[in-house]
Symmetry: none
Subunit: 248 residues, 2 copies
DNA sequence: AAGTGGTCTAGACCACTAC
DNA sequence: TAGTGGTCTAGACCACTTA
């Protein structure tokens, strides 16, 4: 077995945090791949020269961060969360009967244009900033439920295209991460009621001028950096908005 | 010091979960009040006849649930959920221009009646249960903004009256706590769009039949016990609903 | 200085899984 | 049956707060 140099350092950082970081480093170096089992706890404790309790506390946190998954009797595995529910964390639309499903995105429009004053405020952009705007129709159980109008800075999302959006394998925020290195870690949403226009009513299949639930969203990356502005219109005939995250 | 009967039971439930439950029960019984310090870890470990490590694991979870707050060197405190600066934790209505104010409640109706089927489900009530229903008009900056229709079990809220509601000094959830020993620690809200009836339109001063933002809320005490069912209608002309808590 | 929560140890035994 | 993670112990010492 490979013997790790002791993780103990003179810094004030708790030992279990150092162990956690060491495991993260090994994951980043590809020592263990997604879906693979990592070595058993006793072995890791020996390798890092810490007690089982300390090792477990480090693994506890990594499991809480959904980076590792533990299965009693089987082992600890590197979590796979490319296209899993991790990226649906901010999707809070549920069917009124309580059933939960993933949305399927259908891209309707894509263009590059000057940012509006509102977008400059929400995305903290400069005076001559440009944005990509695209429109997404969200389908749940073959119901056309929500229409999103999304704006992102052309600087942060260089060379975004309709093709890239339509060809993405999983969620939009997953694309942001893999294609542009942008991690959406939090969103701020404001809800009100608004009427829809002709095009939107056609896409959603509801009468023009009807009042729907309108959601304004600013999505944030690390350090409270706003990265996406989004206006959504939700048809709440069969679906509703849940104040807390839902586990699909 | 009061000696607790050992929490050890023959069930398969882990000891630290039993300790967590025992602490929750003591909180529910009012042994320690919000903002107070609970006894030190070593004392609690002695009282429950468990090791420090096990006691800490129970407290860890309660801290993660934001029911307790730990401060190194000072002690562990019962989190303040709905009084003083956290009065309006669950009040998520903000003015669109961003300014924040306290709502002023105006009580419109009060009655005792049989629980509906929906209320029995949401509040987990028995077949012949009764509820108090009361209606509150919420005013912000002299705007009539929201109308709440609130139902609570007559068993949990014995002898609630319009007088008690109207004479309360602070928030409704503060009254629940001081008058009935009920702590609201979490709410689950579902948002949709609905039209309002004649009486509601009169109280809110908007046209009859208009579509407003409708909020269904179940409020929970410790142990996920539902204690209040509420249907609100919010006029979003000048105000909106924020997905996250706002600091007033 | 005394008391609090935070970290860490070096084990033990249990519950579950795979073979 | 062997090996895994899950629970639990009975301490020790450290970091921080308060007086």
């Amino acid at each position: 077995m490979k013997q790790e140099s002791p993780v103990i350092s003179l810094s004030g950082v708790p030992l279990y945090q150092q162990v956690k970081q060491a495991v993260l480093d090994l994951l980043a170096q590809g020592e263990w791949k997604q879906g693979e089992a990592i070595p058993p706890e006793r072995e890791l404790a020996e390798r890092f020269q810490v007690s089982i309790g300390t090792l477990r506390k480090a693994i506890d946190e990594l499991a809480a961060d959904t980076i590792l998954t533990r299965h009693q009797g089987r082992g600890t595995f590197v979590a796979i969360h490319n296209q899993s529910q991790h990226f649906f964390k901010f999707f809070k639309v549920v069917k009124k009967d309580g059933s939960k499903t993933y949305p399927i995105a259908e891209f309707k429009r894509f263009k590059k244009r000057r940012a509006t004053q509102l977008e400059k405020e929400k995305l903290q952009l400069g005076p001559n900033a440009e944005v990509y705007e695209f429109i997404v129709l969200q389908n749940l159980n073959d119901d056309k439920v929500m229409i999103d109008t999304i704006s992102v800075s052309t600087k942060l999302f260089a060379k975004l295209s309709l093709e890239k959006l339509a060809n993405k394998k999983s969620t939009l925020y997953n694309l942001y991460q893999h294609e542009f290195g942008i991690n959406v870690i939090d969103v701020d949403e404001r809800l009100s009621v608004n009427t829809i226009n002709a095009i939107q009513s056609k896409w959603l299949g509801v009468a023009e001028g009807r009042s729907l639930l309108q959601i304004h969203r600013v999505a944030y990356s690390y350090n409270n950096q706003p990265v996406e502005w989004r206006v959504s219109l939700l048809n709440t005939d069969k679906y509703e908005y849940a104040s807390k995250e839902v586990n699909i």
